[in-house]
Symmetry: C2
Subunit: 315 residues, 2 copies
Amino acid sequence: MTGAIDIGGTKIAVGLVAPEGRVIICKSFSTHEEPSPTCAARRIAELLDRCRSELATPLDGIGIGCTGPVDPITGTVEDVDLLPGWNGFRLVDEMQHLLGVSAAMENDADAAALAEAQWGGGRGSTRFLYVTVGTGIGVSLLLDGIIYRGAGGAHPEAGHQTIDASGPVCYCGATGCWEVLASGPAMARWAIENTYKDDSLPLETSAREVCRLARSGHPVAKLAIAREAHYLGVGIANLIGMFCPDCLVLGGGLMEESELFLDEACRVASSRCKLVPFGAVRIGKAALGSEAPLLGAARVWQMRQEGITKAMSCS
Amino acid sequence: MTGAIDIGGTKIAVGLVAPEGRVIICKSFSTHEEPSPTCAARRIAELLDRCRSELATPLDGIGIGCTGPVDPITGTVEDVDLLPGWNGFRLVDEMQHLLGVSAAMENDADAAALAEAQWGGGRGSTRFLYVTVGTGIGVSLLLDGIIYRGAGGAHPEAGHQTIDASGPVCYCGATGCWEVLASGPAMARWAIENTYKDDSLPLETSAREVCRLARSGHPVAKLAIAREAHYLGVGIANLIGMFCPDCLVLGGGLMEESELFLDEACRVASSRCKLVPFGAVRIGKAALGSEAPLLGAARVWQMRQEGITKAMSCS
């Protein structure tokens, strides 16, 4: 049994995952309930220990998926916007110390990609792109099942590729990033800013609400959906042109409404990918749903073990 | 000694390259002088044979860099715009047959990248991007010295990434590609379209001429240079954000004028790369100059041999 930890800005979930990719038991608490990462780590250890007792099963190791940026090599949380006070916290060392088994960590996008590649929509892919579209846009690339890392182990930020340099400013400092044009909040913001008089939308309107309005025929909400499809498609086209993957899977909150815009996004992407084998790319929705974070976390540890075993058998 | 062949739409060059990366002898002819690829292949073989006789040296093998798309696995030229009549020609088989030694082929951008990585600005890089800016924009990615290939061996087309979806239409069918905004012809076209009355530029004005005019203070030419720097920088930022390379080298015809715009392009790129380690990227100009195509071609064969030797020693 693999211990799995998913650390987000809102919630921390822990659970046990069976080798064939099933979450057997799961417990969670609100991230802000604990005043420090040390306290959170202790709470995590207690919950995992309780899971193990309830199932009367040994723990082989611990995998962690954490909202980034994190350093997967040293197992350290870096300057994460959503985790104030955690910068520099050696979470992997701490979990190993508290639970007495080995641990490994990746950022949550890479973790979810590993799970989709093993048990979901990315099975059999050798050039696999996993895209999360929700509050932000995150992208993970797996080459022959291994997470692609840049110089010094850096995680690329393809969600912040510029796709419309004449577009709005993103928090990252650039203009017209994919994220500032095609994330859930981007869609909601555009709808709010482009309604007035009789059809005006309240400032707190969410992307989900825009989707509901579009279904009921609201004209500006429908335009917001069309704009989402366009920009999602442009970004997908760039990813396909840059990496020529054989499979691209989309997950994240906004994908729950994907029947409103995914077909059109694929049509846009196809029309912009005439120089690369677009037809060779299997494009689909993430298959693992709400279990993805814990399955991904477990897969992080399993992959690390497989790597160690392989390295030992070669030496 | 490695036989090297560089096949372009205008010129075909052949030569011999010493193991340490020096072109020892070189001969060339105009591509259109030969009516068919079979005739061209015979002429290439004759010239290579003459080189070998003149130097009284044996030929170890033959490397080919060819304007793409080509299939590097089967050694076949594909539907290359600049090489009408060559589609489906098995150039590698033909050269092996004519000269009695092994041969290997890659597209010319990948070949030049291999040479820069071995003997030029990319030495020591493990995440190496090579960008050619000239008539078009080509990009090659080497991971640990190996050419990155997409699904089915496809060569990605990062020169056609959309960076300004609101921009002009490219021949590839998309709008606002990097190439249609930042190649040499794109710069010249913009200058021509934006001059009028007293400072009007003739329709055939080249990018080089625009650079000359900018140096002499022509106001629209200077704006064209500023626009070039901006869009070059946006595309570089996307590449760095997507791949987190440790080294990015720029070559191609327009780079001969790079002192006019490269510093500003890097400044633009830096300002748009706040989420990835921009400081870890060594950015520079290609070092091999006019010898790059033949050196690259030679390196294609050398790499293939090294791969075969390595595979044999492991089995």
